[in-house]
């Protein structure tokens, strides 16, 4: 018997990976462009690379949950508001009410996961489109933010300060000693949380039945239920998990800016969706990989970095470039989908 499965080439040319290749490829092209143009200004340093993670960790954490939601064929517009509300919980709880941050985080988790589960339940069992349901969730969460406070509240708490200030310096071995690399580069709690979430997300999607059910639902929800898969439970849990990711993103953002503000992260949900989509996740569902989302986050964040290095461009060019990328990826997706449909 010819065993074509084990051929590595055949594995790698599997058409399902095309989108991920496109993302990774474009990221490296843009990065190489940056290195060519601004290599002398320090674009090629480890620091620049690590900063891509540090400055966008909260988007990345949220994108993990968003990727799963998108794979089911759904969408969640509430993530920015829920993350913002998490920040408000922590800021108001610690600074105004004098609560321990862990208490606030626990309350935020209950709120975020609970809202996610509720939205999932409404979407599946009441058959309300995800767009509408989560739009409602977004207004709800944003409303509660403003109810708590309409002013920005600084966060001052030893535990938060410690967590936000905690960092691991990247070292290298030279002349018999471990020394910090120059220019100084470090990773912090947010980066670790982001990477852990990406790994956890990959594990869930690729190695658990729950994850595979997510793909099956995105492929064809009716078939999935005829195949006896727990469609309702899976969908509710996916939105619940996304709620969890939103809260973690909110914590990460709070650590990043060390304050809570009712209007923070407005439009954040769209940035998160953008990360997932340029990472190769199909908006129609059924296709998407965490590794793609990781590179989607990096790709989206490398553009502002380039603009900073250029120094002469207005930052709005970043938005325009991101829009262009999004358009490019949607066109590639369309092309991949139609060409695979034609093969039938």
């Amino acid at each position: 018997m010819t065993n074509n499965r084990q051929s590595i080439l055949s594995k790698l040319t599997n058409p399902k990976y095309i989108m991920v290749y496109a993302t990774i490829g474009i990221f490296f092209v843009i990065y190489a462009f940056g290195a060519f143009m601004y290599g002398d200004k320090g674009f090629m340093t480890v620091r620049t690379f690590v900063n891509l993670f540090i400055d966008n960790a909260y988007f990345g954490i949220s994108a993990v949950g968003m990727t799963m939601v998108l794979i089911t064929g759904g969408i969640d517009l509430s993530v920015g508001a829920v993350a913002s509300l998490t920040g408000m919980f922590i800021a108001y709880g610690t600074t105004v009410l004098g609560l321990h941050p862990m208490t606030c985080i626990f309350a935020a988790l209950v709120m975020g996961v609970g809202l996610g589960l509720l939205m999932g339940w409404v979407i599946h069992y009441l058959n309300v489109p995800p767009f509408i349901t989560t739009l409602t969730g977004m207004f709800f969460a944003r409303g509660v933010c403003s109810l708590i406070s309409r002013e920005s509240i600084d966060i001052h708490h030893p535990m938060i300060d410690a967590l936000a200030g905690w960092k691991i310096y990247l070292m290298k071995y030279s002349a018999g000693h471990w020394v910090r690399i120059r220019p100084i580069a470090f990773i912090n709690f947010n980066v670790i949380l982001f990477v852990v979430m990406i790994i956890a997300g990959t594990f869930i999607l690729q190695r658990t039945r729950f994850g595979r059910n997510i793909y099956a639902i995105g492929g064809n929800e009716q078939s999935a239920s005829l195949m006896g898969l727990p469609v309702g439970r899976t969908k509710v849990l996916v939105y619940g998990f996304n709620g969890l990711c939103s809260v973690l993103a909110g914590i990460s953002y709070a650590l990043y800016v060390k304050s809570g503000w009712n209007l923070s992260l407005q439009g954040g949900e769209l940035e998160v969706i953008t990360c997932a989509v340029i990472g190769g996740t199909l908006l129609t569902g059924g296709v998407g990989y965490m590794i793609g989302t990781l590179f989607g986050v990096l790709l989206k964040s490398v553009i502002p970095a380039l603009i900073t290095f250029n120094g002469n461009l207005l930052s709005w060019w970043g938005k325009i470039a991101t829009g262009g990328l999004l358009l490019l990826f949607i066109c590639i997706q369309r092309f991949v989908v139609t060409s695979s449909a034609r093969k039938k």
């Binding site: 190695r207 039945r209 039938k344």
Partner: protein
């Protein structure tokens, strides 16, 4: 030797609003048996299956599995009980790999993780039992419908099923694939599985089944051994009326000097069809024969403007026309019933009335809307004329059976009073009674001067109806034969060998 009954259904009655879908039906299935379930559309076959798999609740009756009473609450519970179903439409996930489609929901686990290695190797083993050596890690959408069908059977078989229900599994398979499927069915039978087989191909019933049960209008007509009942008797029992109608269809009569309604000269599209020439006279019926993928559908789509003709010329009624989009064809009074009626033809959420008047309205233009009363009259006329089984014209088209949906599409184009009607597999997946009706309607339209192009995979109906038959192979027209003087063997030979 009396075998043990694995399944017994007694006195099953299901009441739908306004109609008794099943009325006291008994059915039994033995261990190691292939049992065909027969009946026209609407006879209650699907309802019986849905009752067994828990999709529909029965109002009266009893289901015994291995002597124990069961009441499955849904397909997944039925599956746990050992009742697996493979539907006509492939109910799998196109984005998942072949292997995963077989195992999703019950993946083998190792250390709390999905064991992909085992999934892939077991899937490969299962597919090779069907003599398919394919890369099972590729997405399902990468493969043909036949392989997708085999995948769903592999899935059903691998669940330790005692009962396998095959609902029209062969309608999209070619001859070799059907034989492959039959071999698999026989092997499963030898292992003691009970198989319920639903098909509208009579030959296949005789080729593979042990017994058959016939339903008509929700009533049990009887259960027979395969040798107890001949084909004609069987059809008579299914349809409940004389079959003379079917076997006495007369070809359209075309006078030798009739005008050419359609002439296509050396047309080809961008990718599929190279060079085809077709002529069609007024009131003539031309059949397109050929295997799936031979270019029949692509040619029809060009003639309807659904795909771009890049070379050659098309004349309608003597005038050269350019078909850029279906609207151009509708203006030229060309009508097209596509092959996949669910996807391209019927709009399930619209009522029968709205479905019927679509093409008329499109031709009239939206500036001249028809009144509701005109529409209703029009719809009622065709419902009566075509014998569409529905309480009224406001029923959603998606709720009709396949044969009735086909009639609605036919009515849509008849109402538009076309000069040229192209029918792509109009009789696919519908029962023999409805098939005969459709054929009769086609020929009646020819009698009224409409020219018809009839595409079908079933050679007997092509030969029965066509004046001329165009035979296609590998995206080319290889021969044109006279419908009255050729036999199935002639055509098969041309399809197989390519020589005229």
């Amino acid at each position: 030797m009396p075998q043990k009954n694995i399944l017994e259904m007694k006195g099953i009655t299901i009441q739908f609003p306004g109609v008794k879908a099943l009325d006291g039906v008994d059915f039994s299935l033995r261990e190691g048996e292939i049992h065909s379930l027969l009946g026209e559309n609407g006879a209650g076959k699907s309802t019986l299956i849905k009752c067994l798999t828990g999709v529909n609740r029965m109002d009266e009756g009893q289901i015994l599995l291995d002597g124990r009473e069961i009441r499955p609450s849904g397909p997944s519970q039925a599956m746990e009980l050992g009742i697996s179903t493979v539907f006509q439409e492939v109910n799998l996930c196109p984005n998942l790999s072949v292997a995963e489609n077989i195992f999703v929901g019950r993946q083998p686990m190792k250390h709390g993780q999905i064991n992909w290695r085992e999934i892939n190797s077991r899937a490969e083993e299962l597919m090779s039992r069907f003599h398919l050596n394919i890369d099972v890690t590729r997405p399902l959408s990468y493969y043909s419908t036949a392989i997708q069908q085999m995948t769903s059977i592999a899935r059903a078989v691998d669940v330790k099923a005692k009962i396998l229900i095959l609902d029209e599994p062969t309608s999209s398979l070619d001859e070799n694939e059907v034989q492959l499927l039959f071999n698999v069915m026989r092997e499963l039978r030898a292992n003691g599985m009970g198989i319920i087989f639903i098909t509208h191909f009579l030959d296949q019933i005789y080729a593979v089944s042990d017994r058959m049960t016939i339903l008509r209008n929700g009533h049990l007509i009887g259960t027979y051994g395969i040798n107890e009942l001949g084909k004609v008797e069987l059809v008579t029992k299914m349809v409940g009326k004389d079959m003379d109608v079917i076997f006495n269809l007369k070809r359209a009569e075309v006078p030798g000097d009739a005008d050419y309604m359609l002439k296509a000269e050396h047309i080809g599209d961008a990718s599929h069809v190279k060079d085809i020439s077709i002529t069609l006279k007024k009131g003539e019926l031309v059949g397109f024969a050929g295997l799936l993928g031979s270019g029949r559908t692509e040619t029809a789509e060009m003639l309807f403007g659904a795909s771009r003709t890049v070379k050659g010329e098309i004349f309608v009624d003597g005038e050269s026309i350019t078909l850029r989009q279906p609207f151009d064809a509708i203006k030229a009074r060309i009508a097209f019933c596509p092959e996949d009626r669910k996807r391209d033809g019927i709009i399930g959420d619209l009522s029968i009335r709205e479905n019927i008047m679509l093409a008329v309205q499109s031709r009239k233009g939206f500036m001249h809307p028809m009144t509701k009363q005109e529409q209703t009259e029009l719809a009622d006329k065709y419902i009566k004329l075509l014998g569409i089984a529905t309480p009224d014209c406001e029923k959603k088209a998606g709720e009709l059976s396949g044969g009735n949906q086909q009639k609605v599409i036919l009515a849509r184009w008849m109402a538009a009073e076309p000069k040229i009607l192209i029918l792509d597999e109009p009789t696919r997946g519908i029962d023999i009674g409805a098939k005969a009706e459709i054929q009769r309607l086609m020929l009646e339209m020819c009698g009224e001067g409409v020219s018809v192009i009839f595409i079908s995979s079933e050679l007997d109906e092509i030969i029965r109806c066509s004046n001329r038959i165009i035979i296609m192979r590998d995206r080319e027209k290889v021969a044109e034969v006279d419908g009255s003087s050729c036999t199935q063997q002639d055509i098969l030979k041309i399809i197989a060998e390519g020589a005229a």
